[in-house]
Amino acid sequence: MNNKKVKFSRILLSLIIASGLLLVSCQPEVVEVEVEKEVVVEKEVEVVKEADPGSLVVYSGRSESLVQPIIDQFAAVTGIEVEVKYGKTAEMAAVLMEEGKNSPADVFWAQDPGGAGAVAEAGMFAELPADTLAKVDSGFQSKNGDWVGVSGRARVVVYNTATIDPATDLPDDLWGFVEPEWKGRLGWAPTNGSFQAMVTALRSEWGEEKTKEWLQGIMANDVGVYPKNTPQVAAAAAGEIDIGFVNHYYLHRFIAAEGESFAARNHFLTGGGPGSLVMVATIGRISTGANEANAMKFVEFLLSPVAQQYFAGQTYEYPLVEGVKIHRELTPIAELPKIDIDLSDLVDLQGTVDLLTEVGALE
């Protein structure tokens, strides 16, 4: 345990009405606030603290509650002052594109490859060094080295444990859910990035026609539409639906909060295919960022065993570098089907959005 004092300076504004006209003048005033934070520092990290470690600006499409602890660790061991802007991945990508070369960001940590793809297409990433890219499987990084995967998640079906016996009741692959026996029992989140990535994978594996038939078949089964993954997991546990198409890790957070009696579990479709597609959160360095060296330190840190162990143990994700243990309930990544598509390809993504629009899934 190590106590670290973090200084926050806050600008206060005083607004003054000047002699009756409503001109507003501003005067900054600095107030020092001290907060004590406990930071766990692992011993394995070998990073040398420099005299003036400087700073780093992170734009994160991943949420604060997930990644702030590991960022705090990075700051503690390197002494680098890290400032983070949090938001949804698509919003952060839009912000970066609006800022253009004036962006204060050094790195962009995106929840899904689509967001990274949008920023890459705007030409804002710097190419990452080959030895950094070499740490991660080539399937989980951009083709031209713009970004690299940090941690992975798999598509699964979440099922209600009271009504479904996974050994006998579930089909081998996604296609099975178009059968009429599933009518009124399914849920999905068609606007969600991970779901759309899965559909993109379906299009690549099955072709447009079969994918369209699948979408229409699921809709014909009166699928419940959810805004994102988490309410689907909650709905599966409550019995509102029997099956939801989700990412694997939300379930583990629900169980952590509500206990083992939580009435939903994940199932990896045994027949393979895009039903258990693996997707990654990505990081890339913004080429106009002022702190290039620190940005690279951060990328390296995220691919270090310490950070990878954090993702495996604390956020229930798949580590992407060799030699880090996964959560005991997860199917190893090597046993999941590998689908060779570029999930950051926006043209592909648009094709998926068009298909979803065409069948009316986005209404």
Partner: protein
């Protein structure tokens, strides 16, 4: 003689300054529209296909239908509560007045999630009722759910503006009506209600525009509105240009709503001919009606506030039971209070010239100014935030990602709330009172600060309250425009809910409600409604 000439000169300087301030504010408020036009010029062809598709038209009609229904529903909840808490001898009036405004601080996605967990197909209520043989609850998903959540969370807009109108209303009219032999009901419908038109219209406008820009409740409740289509454009296609075109349509829609508001508010004068300060209004004795009245108020509070707060408490307790680590909240709380407090003052100051011009000046420019102030209000926060990112990062770098630019973002988003509340109160002040003060030799500033502002106080405090509550819960602008590392209670709630950490979300959410009740309490306790 000399003083009169001097005074006239002062008045014209005063006027020019107000015009200048008004013009400056209007320019600021037009920034999002400029930005959208710039973006829309780059738009590809595919977006026109989306825009003019039968599907989008259907969504557009559904959006209008939802906005209309929620506005009417909110008025039905708000007007009785406003009247009861200002005009009747309802027990614990101030207590009800505070509690009934607080639902405004609950973010709509949180509200929707909580409602589903209670009233959803397999929610808590269903579980409690199933031993009694209730197999299925009425359908929540779809229009009914969206209507329910949005009405319960946005009726305080109408409540606040209507209460301000009631407090400022000239009691002589009602007295005259009672003296002429009309009963309480008849007086309410013939005299009071017509007098409330500006307040009702101002609040109704805020509700309708809020529905237009809402994303959280409608997506949870599976009722696709125009804003959802716009979000899909950003989220799924990363297409800013297409989204810009859709956002321009939202601006057009808000202008349409504005026209309806102007029709509703009417052209009449709402001030008494000679009365300066308001006398004490008649307090109606409720008699036996007090019981149904109490039942009504408590039902509304139960559904809109206690139900969400109760579930949040449940989550919190459950989180504590498993000894979950709760991150420290006091910095977020401090940031929330500071940003909401500063925003309320800043926005109020900006709203005064706009509202004053729109009431006192009859020309087209003054009317235009007021319209402009509403143009961004129907835009989803994210669109306003991106506009400010565009201008801030490229043309105002020194204030980019500082509290200053954040305040401008809030100004663009929330000015209409303050203008709406203020305007209603200014309307109730007779210009002859101001003129009388001036002929007594007081300068325009002195008249404004010692006559106009004190008389308009109900509207001013209503404006402050509305802005404070909505900034407290604001999310996209705070996330995008805030200084690096800036977190508020609203961002803490969002960050936790996003990852299904409900125990961690409950603490900041409850604190949000609790802290908001303090300034609302101060405002209500200062009211003179004896």
């Amino acid at each position: 003689m000399n003083t009169i000439i001097q005074n006239t000169r002062k008045i014209s300087i005063f006027k020019w300054l107000i015009w200048f301030a008004g013009a400056l504010i209007a320019l600021t408020l037009l920034l999002p529209a400029f930005y959208l036009l710039i973006r829309a010029l780059d738009a590809g062809n595919s977006i026109w296909g989306i825009l003019f598709s039968a599907r989008t038209m259907r969504v557009l009609l559904r959006t209008i239908y939802l906005a209309t229904s929620v506005t009417l529903g909110s008025a039905l909840l708000a007007v009785p509560i406003a009247w009861l808490t200002v005009r009747s001898d309802l027990p614990m009036r101030r207590f009800w007045a505070i509690l009934t405004t607080l639902p405004l601080v609950v973010p709509s996605y949180v509200g929707a999630y909580l409602f589903i967990s209670v009233l959803g197909p397999k929610g808590m209520l269903q579980k409690w009722l199933s031993p009694l043989g209730v197999e299925e609850l009425p359908k929540l998903y779809g229009f009914s759910g969206a209507f329910l959540v949005l009405t319960l969370l946005s009726y305080p807009y109408i409540l606040t503006t209507t209460r301000a109108s009631l407090m400022r209303m000239n009691p002589a009219l009602e007295e005259a009506s009672r003296n002429l032999g009309y009963g309480a009901w008849s007086t309410f419908f013939r005299v009071t209600l017509p007098q409330l038109r500006p307040g009702l219209a101002a609040g109704g406008l805020l509700v309708a525009l809020y529905v237009l820009r809402d994303f959280g409740a409608v997506s949870f409740m599976r009722y696709s509105t125009f804003t959802r289509v716009l979000y899909i454009q950003y989220q799924s296609s990363f297409d800013r240009t297409g989204a810009a075109i859709l956002a321009l349509v939202l601006i057009l829609l808000s202008l349409l709503v504005l026209l309806i508001e102007i029709k509703t508010r009417g052209r009449a004068n709402y001030y008494g001919g000679h009365v300066g300060a308001v006398g004490n209004p008649i307090q109606i004795k409720l008699g036996y009606w007090r019981w149904p009245s109490l039942l009504f108020c408590s039902t509304v509070v139960l559904l809109s506030l206690l139900l969400p707060a109760g579930i949040l408490c449940f989550w919190l307790l459950r989180g504590m039971r498993i000894e979950m680590a709760f991150p420290s909240l006091w910095l977020s709380a401090y940031n929330s209070l500071i940003s909401s407090g500063l925003a309320s003052i800043f926005i109020l100051l900006a709203a005064i010239p706009v509202a004053w011009l729109s009431v006192r000046e009859t020309g087209r420019i003054a009317t235009f100014l007021e319209r402009v102030s509403y143009s961004a209000f129907a835009l989803p926060g994210m669109v306003v935030a991106l506009a400010m990112v565009f201008f801030g990062a490229n043309y105002a770098k020194p204030i980019y990602q500082t509290l200053y630019l954040l305040l401008f973002g809030y100004l663009i988003m929330f000015l209409p709330q303050a203008v709406g509340a203020l305007r209603t109160s200014f309307l109730q002040i007779s210009p002859s009172i101001e003129q009388a003060a001036r002929t007594l030799g007081h300068g325009p500033l002195k008249v404004f600060s010692s006559i106009t502002i004190p008389i308009a106080w109900p509207g001013i405090s209503a404006g402050i309250g509305l802005v404070f509550l909505t900034v407290m819960k604001e999310l996209p602008i705070t996330l995008i425009l805030g200084p690096l590392g800036f977190s508020t209670l609203a961002t803490s709630v969002w960050s936790a809910v996003e990852e299904a950490m409900f125990g961690a979300a409950a603490a900041p959410a409850l604190l949000l409600i609790l802290l908001s009740s303090v300034p609302m309490g101060v405002i209500v306790l200062r009211e003179r409604i004896e």
